[in-house]
């Protein structure tokens, strides 16, 4: 593992991505405790402010400090996106491995259904699920997780099938190793890599999807300062104070970029040959 980390940090994408992700995580964990103001505190004399010494990133229509709101919203955005990806990855991994393991008719039927579900544009599918569950941050998380499941199942299945056919697995079978040993020691380490890469890049999508749902009023609800919701609240005031939209919009983009970079770096680090 230290070896992998060293290789990861040697790629510029991996190093930059990891740095931004760590910074964002610190922000999310520390959250309101390092914020200069309460995210709900009104400053009536400082409404629609740009960045200043008192308010680093400006203020909104009630004079609330945008930096404090950004810090408070980091949890609702970052942790929920991570949880949604974890949910989708776990469900997809189970489904994909099962499909590859059982094979035959079950595999065929499962994959046909996965194909059909993936023929629905992803955001549309997520929207439909949220419509059923009701608009809230947690439901948005669940919906994104469910929407990720078919894609992750497809990836897991194809990786598992490829690994199963590798020579080193055949060699282990020929050596007379037990199936438990083969699955755990030979197959799993080689299956996990591509899945982790896929999941990392999907966190970027999860951040964007979560923010999009909140933006459409179907995710986190006020008074939360989830970043997508912050952009939605900035909409009526776009031409009065652009900072209200730029601050959370930039934060979303930065976190998404970081996970994209990190995922690409991880892929390079896991494939030393290329």
């Amino acid at each position: 593992m230290p070896d992998l980390l060293r290789r990861l940090l040697r790629t510029p994408q991996g190093a930059i991505g990891l740095a931004i992700i760590l910074a964002a995580l610190v922000m999310a964990i520390a959250g309101t405790s390092i914020a200069p103001y309460s995210p709900e505190q009104f400053h009536p004399r400082a409404r629609f402010g740009g960045p200043s010494a008192a308010f680093w990133l400006g203020t909104d229509q009630f004079g609330r400090d945008l930096f404090s709101r950004l810090l408070a919203g980091a949890r609702a955005t970052l942790f929920y996106a991570l949880a949604a990806t974890l949910l989708g990855t776990a469900a997809g991994a189970v489904l994909g491995t099962l499909s590859a393991f059982l094979g035959g008719l079950v595999d065929e039927v499962l994959m046909r259904i996965v194909d059909a579900v993936m023929a629905i544009p992803n955001l549309l599918f997520t929207l439909l699920i949220v419509t059923v569950l009701g608009a809230s941050g947690v439901n948005a998380l669940i919906a994104i997780g469910i929407a990720f499941t078919p894609g992750m199942a497809r990836v897991t299945r194809s990786v598992a099938l490829t690994v199963r056919r590798q020579d080193y697995v055949a060699a282990a079978i020929a050596r007379g190793e037990s199936s438990g040993y083969i699955v755990l020691r030979e197959m799993l380490p080689n299956v996990v890599g591509p899945i982790v890469v896929e999941a990392t890049i999907r966190v970027a999508f999860a951040v964007m999807a979560l923010a999009t749902l909140s933006f459409l009023g179907l995710g986190a609800q006020p008074p939360s300062s989830e970043w997508g919701l912050m952009v939605a609240e900035a909409r009526p005031y776009l031409f009065r104070n652009a900072w209200m939209m730029i601050v959370p919009g930039f934060a979303i983009a930065l976190v998404a970029i970081a996970f994209n970079l990190f995922g690409d770096g991880l892929r390079d680090a896991l494939n030393p040959r290329t």
Partner: protein, 316 residues
């Protein structure tokens, strides 16, 4: 491409649409919305509600309701909107037409921008131009549509700039210039996102192709770099791009939902959002079904185009 391949593909599209229809119908069944209450309002008497339920067939078993609905779909009847009382099919297909116009213009603009960018990045590999294009595409891919759209809105659509009308829609047939000017911002937004994706693809494919033996052979023959690029390398590099563009159509149909919402563009995405907000079940079903079918057909078209352009591909 054989006829049997085409038949199999069409069959698989029918299967896909069937699964989607089951899914969409199932989702609208568990929705906490009662169509009869929605039509009559909260103050209706139980007798009135019962009468409407009978008229809509809501007192029938679920599987019968599904069969009735899907039977209607086959005959081109997608149901009646609970909000407007008008047939859903006409409204949704008109909206789809507008969305397709938006999508087609965006794809066109995207190709015009993305291919040269990808080519420049590949030819100047590792140079500042390549790095800049690479960074730019990371940013483009990582910005959610609603952020890109609002950025476009506050820069180009700013009322003080007065360059372009920010939102709304005017049919091209009614006033061509006015209609076109209102399309500019949404088209620009959608293509920004696509450009980022496709330019990366063109670059990596072209880098691969430029390293092949036949390109080296063409160079060693003494052909001009221009001829090597346009006659030999680019044609092969662009082929895989077609597949990516087709995949992007699926993305496009999702992303267009948000862009249409922000620019108040009356396409199918906005129609669907409105339907979801109003819990207008027939419209939700119709919108989702139409979008999924469009996506499946777009993928088929891409495969056919791929086979037509690349003679090495034979679909058996």
């Amino acid at each position: 491409m054989s006829a049997s391949y085409l038949a199999r593909r069409l069959l698989s599209i029918v299967f896909t649409v069937l699964v989607v229809s089951l899914l969409v119908f199932g989702i609208t069944q568990v929705l906490p919305a009662d169509a009869a209450v929605m039509l009559l309002g909260e103050n209706a008497t139980p007798e009135q509600l019962a009468a409407v339920r009978t008229r809509l067939g809501l007192d029938q078993p679920v599987w019968w309701q599904y069969l009735r609905w899907i039977g209607g779909v086959v005959r081109g009847d997608l149901g009646t909107s609970l909000e407007t009382g008008l047939p859903v099919a006409g409204e949704m297909l008109t909206a789809l037409g507008r969305s397709l116009l938006l999508a087609a213009l965006s794809l066109l603009l995207m190709l015009v921008i993305a291919i040269p960018l990808g080519v420049i990045a590949a030819l100047r590999r590792g140079k500042p131009a390549d790095v800049a294009i690479g960074l730019g595409s990371y940013v483009g891919v990582s910005m959610p549509e609603f952020v890109t759209a609002t950025l476009v809105l506050i820069t180009l659509g700013h009322p003080e700039v007065g360059l372009l009308p920010a939102t709304g829609y005017v049919p091209l047939t009614e006033n061509f210039g006015e209609g076109l000017s209102r399309l500019v911002l949404p088209v620009l937004t959608v293509s920004v996102i696509l450009v980022a994706h496709v330019a990366r693809m063109v670059r990596s494919e072209l880098v691969d192709v430029l390293g092949t033996d036949y390109v080296r052979a063409a160079r060693l023959k003494g052909l001009s770099p221009r001829r090597v690029l346009f006659r030999h390398a680019l044609r092969n590099a662009l082929l895989p791009t077609i597949t990516i563009v087709a995949l992007d159509v699926g993305y496009l149909l999702g992303g267009i939902i948000v862009v249409e919402e922000i620019f108040a563009f009356p396409g199918i995405g906005r129609a669907l959002i409105v339907a979801i907000q109003q819990r207008d079940l027939p419209s939700i079903q119709a919108g989702a079904l139409i979008m999924a079918t469009t996506y499946a057909l777009a993928n088929l078209c891409a495969d056919i185009a791929y086979a037509a352009l690349d003679k090495r591909i034979r679909y058996a």
